[in-house]
């Protein structure tokens, strides 16, 4: 086993030049230098070389790769190689490796395109993606229309499951985040308002900030990360397993069966989550007001009640409903577009979250301008 691999150059029985392999040709052993072997005049000038077993102690795949390289070089120079002296297994494996010729017309998978080509392809893809998204919106709207006239096909139990998942099960995280956001708002405001001795207005700041803006926004961002990603991963895995194809071939619209219940669930649950987040945020603000600024609980409550009207809540709830639909659309769109590999599922989930958050913030910006103009 320990003897090094080597090659003896000798004249064989029929007068042909013979390369006799000796030693252990195993992975990790130092193989004879191919260049110096080929530059040997006896080898370089021989028209025909015979490979022979000169006492091979052991061998594995590394011998095969060495011989393939050697043969390729000899053939390049116009020589021929005779394998008849090799151990049977070696000769058979070499023959097997050549049995199916190398495919050259494989098309994809060749050289990767350059930077300019990739940039161009990305722009074209962007256009196609926009088209896909509009088409998806159209299909979703049609499915919703069917639902309104009571002809959409999906199972009530599916809707109930999704409702549970994006409603009650989201409460703990929404509680935590909303209380903290209320706290943070109050802290940021407190420092400034104390300068004017106007600490009591902390209640206004937190209440209006939560009800109009932060409640809906934070609930939406939590749900985008939690539920939007889950939708994309679920539908993506179904795409990988050809379950979506199975729906289509059976004439069941995946838009109605899979996407619609998810959209409905988020559209129904987001307003409730938003209201809940509003209250939790106000609670968080109250903690700061009562314990740090020494405002009495009654005072804080009255101040909040006096300056907050239902309109503020309505603005938040309306926005939350829209955000919910956007999250569901982003998650389901990315899930339905998912490729057919496990890697694609991960990418779908990531891109669903990114898309949902971008859509939420953009929509929020539009609403801010609209509500300002409309004076709401």
């Amino acid at each position: 086993m320990s003897d090094l691999p080597g090659i003896d150059i000798r004249t064989g029985a029929e007068g042909a030049m013979e390369l006799a392999l000796t030693g252990a040709w195993v992975m990790g052993a130092a193989l004879p230098d191919l260049e110096s072997l080929l530059s040997d005049p006896k080898v370089a000038d021989a028209p025909r070389l015979r490979l022979a077993d000169g006492g091979i102690a052991d061998w594995d795949s590394i011998l095969l790769t060495y011989l393939r390289r050697l043969e390729a070089r000899i053939k390049d120079k116009g020589g021929t190689v005779d394998r008849s002296g090799l151990p049977e297994g070696v000769a058979r494996l070499l023959a097997l490796a050549e049995a199916v010729p190398r495919r050259e017309d494989t098309g994809t998978g060749g050289a990767r395109p350059g930077f300019v080509a990739r940039a161009g392809a990305a722009v074209i893809r962007l256009g196609a993606e926009a088209r896909d998204m509009i088409a998806f919106l159209g299909l979703a709207a049609m499915a919703f229309g069917k639902f309104l006239v009571g002809r959409a096909r999906f199972r009530g139990s599916d809707l109930a499951l999704v409702l549970e998942d994006c409603g009650p099960k989201a409460l703990p995280i929404v509680t935590l985040i909303s209380i903290l956001v209320g706290l943070i708002l109050a802290f940021v405001g407190a420092v400034q308002l104390q300068l004017f001795g106007a600490e009591i207005f902390i209640a206004n700041l937190v209440a209006i900030g939560m009800a109009r803006e932060m409640g809906a926004l934070m609930a939406a961002i939590i749900m985008a990360g939690r539920t939007g990603a889950a939708f994309a991963a679920e539908l993506g895995t179904m795409q990988v397993n050809e379950e979506i194809d199975a729906f289509v071939t059976l004439g069941i619209s995946p838009m109605e069966f899979l996407v619609l219940p998810r959209m409905l669930a988020l559209a129904l649950m987001m307003p409730l989550l938003c209201l809940y987040a509003d209250l939790m945020g106000i609670l968080g603000g109250a903690v700061v007001g009562i314990f740090m600024l020494d405002i009495s609980p009654i005072q804080y409550f009255n101040q909040t009640k006096q300056f907050l009207d239902m309109g503020d809540f309505a603005v938040g709830v309306f926005k939350a409903t829209v955000f919910g639909i956007l999250i569901a659309i982003a998650g389901c769109l990315r899930g339905m577009q998912c490729g057919r590999s496990s890697q694609a599922v991960g990418m779908a989930a990531t891109s669903a979250v990114v898309l949902a958050i971008v859509l939420i913030i953009c929509a929020d910006g539009v609403f801010a301008v609209l509500f300002h103009i409309m004076g709401i």
Binding site: V26, M27, G28, I56, A57, D58, W59, D60, S61, I62, L64, T65, R68, R69, P87, E88, G89, V90, R92, L93, L96, A97, E98, A99, V100, P101, R102, R103, E104, T106, T108, G109, G110, G339, R340, S341, S342, Q343, A344
Partner: protein, 257 residues
């Protein structure tokens, strides 16, 4: 790792003794006793749900026996410490039902990964070996393809190329014919035999594809799902001629008594 190992026909390679397999308290199969000789193409057959794939998981050391032992080259896998068991498992090549290629890697990278992990070879040598293995299964030129870009039959062959990456001494196949057309299936059978002969490897196949069983099997066991133990053992052709167990006869005659 050596392929030049001398094949002695009566040399026991895998010895299964008194093996019970269980998931928790649910016993899948009990009292399994059989020997796979060096150079065998050993078939594990049985009706659906009898635990064929579970037995395979026991043979390759992915699952510990509830009782009894699986010995490879005289060493019981579960008597070894974890490092030694992992080293032993490296001498196995396993082809999964669907190929189980890593989807984020190209075919060449799929084969190069174990080589890079367990050998000190240079990048160029590893690339050359990966290329060789793909050529051996008839996929030369597909090095840069991703698993999602090739057909199911090709994925299976690529999985085989990965299974032989480390020059295994035992090759395990889980349903190699499943999902393949008869021509591809027959070619895969030929490839299995060719690799067995030239690599000098022992082959263990889980299969219920009769054509394939008779074409390549040199020995076999039959697991019964109801009795939860093996009910027949021997070369498949002999079982077809002489086995008196009704279920085995029916199985080997495709339902005809």
């Amino acid at each position: 790792m050596s392929m030049a190992a001398h094949i002695d026909a009566d040399d026991a390679h895998i010895v299964v003794s008194d093996l019970d397999m269980a998931y928790g308290s649910f016993v899948v199969q009990r009292d399994l006793n059989f020997t796979v000789r060096r150079g065998d193409v050993f078939i594990i057959m049985g009706d659906s749900g009898c635990g064929k794939s579970t037995l395979l998981r026991h043979l390759v050391g992915l699952k510990a026996p509830a009782r009894g032992s699986v010995a490879i080259n005289g060493e019981s896998l579960w008597d070894l410490d974890e490092d030694a068991r992992e080293a032993a498992m490296r001498r196995f090549g396993l082809l999964y039902q669907s190929g189980a290629l890593w989807s984020s890697l190209t075919l060449a990278e799929n084969i190069a990964l174990p080589l890079g992990e367990y050998t000190d070879l240079s990048k160029a040598e590893i690339a050359e070996l990966a290329s060789l293995k793909l050529s051996l299964v008839g996929l030369a030129g597909f090095e840069e393809f991703y698993p999602s870009e090739i057909s199911g039959g090709m994925a299976k062959r690529a999985g085989l190329a990965r299974a032989i990456a480390l020059d295994p001494e035992i090759l395990f196949f889980d349903e190699p014919s499943a999902g393949l057309d008869p021509i591809s299936s027959a070619r895969l059978d030929e490839l299995i035999l060719e690799l067995r002969d030239s690599l000098g490897a022992t082959v263990v196949v889980v299969s219920h594809e009769l054509a394939s069983i008779f074409a390549i099997g040199t020995n076999s066991v039959f697991l019964d799902a109801e009795k939860r133990t093996m009910v027949a053992e021997g070369p498949p052709k002999d079982l077809l001629e002489a086995c008196t167990v009704p279920k085995v006869r029916t199985f080997l005659r495709r339902g005809a008594e």
